[in-house]
């Protein structure tokens, strides 16, 4: 069978790719895409630990579902913000969205 470590390393890779997306993409929507990757990496870990831990303890799956809800909320609000910013400032480039400075 697949050892636990494979899943964890896979998740770490996904997380790092997401991190790169979050840090390096200019487009705010693309940044949110990166965030999704990171959240998924976390979820893989949760599912893997559920499977490799005490299988009757559903905490891992419950947490993963909660993460789904959080991801949905994050996307909903995040994209709404991006659209709102786009309507006001006509840009979705993260570097140009720095109104919170003042």
């Amino acid at each position: 069978m697949v050892p636990l470590s494979w899943y964890l390393i896979f998740a770490a890779g996904l997380f790092s790719l997401g991190l790169f997306g979050v840090l390096a993409r200019r487009n705010a929507v693309a940044i949110l895409l990166g965030v999704e990757l990171m959240l998924n990496a976390v979820n893989i870990n949760l599912a893997a630990f559920w499977r490799y831990g005490t299988i009757t303890n559903m905490a891992g799956q419950v947490f993963a579902i909660i993460v789904f809800a959080v991801a949905a909320a994050e996307v909903a609000v995040g994209l709404a913000l991006v659209i709102s910013v786009y309507r006001r400032h006509n840009t979705v480039v993260a570097d140009e969205i720095d109104m919170l400075k003042w």
Binding site: I55, A59, L79, Y86
Partner: protein, 169 residues
């Protein structure tokens, strides 16, 4: 190497490849579609982990809703789709370094961890994960509070998103 391992490696490779395309492709719709591929790969991983519910939910929520929402959002903020300018910001190399360091750090930490080679326990016969999940979510001595709080979170997200994006003032 067993079949499961081969499947895992193939799927993981495809998933990571798609994820790489997500963060690098210039066309945002393509990035979103690559995200779908990545998410589907993750769903397959859940299925490999016998977490069928998570796999299906992954498809329903992520591919069916979140990816759609992303595509809609890209269409609505469309000025940038065909942006010929760079899609990565100027300090992307620093980000890349940081990501690699993060990955290295995570793997490094995992390396020294004694439970790494943990073998997978058998699923006890008659164990129904959906039923157990239902128990965990709604029975009062488990996660009933997070269950209810999740609905409040979703409510807040809905109200907030609707208000933020489309306040007609």
């Amino acid at each position: 190497m067993t079949i499961a391992q081969i499947i895992f490696l193939v799927v993981a490779g495809a998933t990571l490849g798609s994820a790489f395309m997500v963060v690098t492709s210039r066309n945002l719709i393509h990035a979103a579609l690559w995200l779908v591929a990545t998410l589907f790969g993750v769903a397959v991983q859940y299925a490999l982990l016998n977490a069928g519910f998570l796999a299906v939910v992954q498809v329903v929520v992520y591919i069916g809703a979140i990816a759609i929402l992303f595509i809609f959002a890209v269409m609505l903020t469309r000025k940038e789709i065909r942006d010929q300018g760079p899609q990565l910001n100027s300090s992307w190399w620093l980000s890349a370094t940081l990501s690699v360091v993060t990955f290295g750090g995570l793997v490094g930490m995992l390396w020294g961890w004694k439970d790494m080679a943990h073998t997978v326990p058998d699923i006890p016969p008659g164990f129904d994960s959906i039923s157990a999940l239902g128990d965990a979510l709604v029975s009062p001595d488990a996660f009933v509070l997070p269950f209810e709080v999740a609905s409040i979170l979703l409510l807040a997200a809905l109200v907030g998103a609707v208000y933020v994006a489309f306040n007609r003032k």
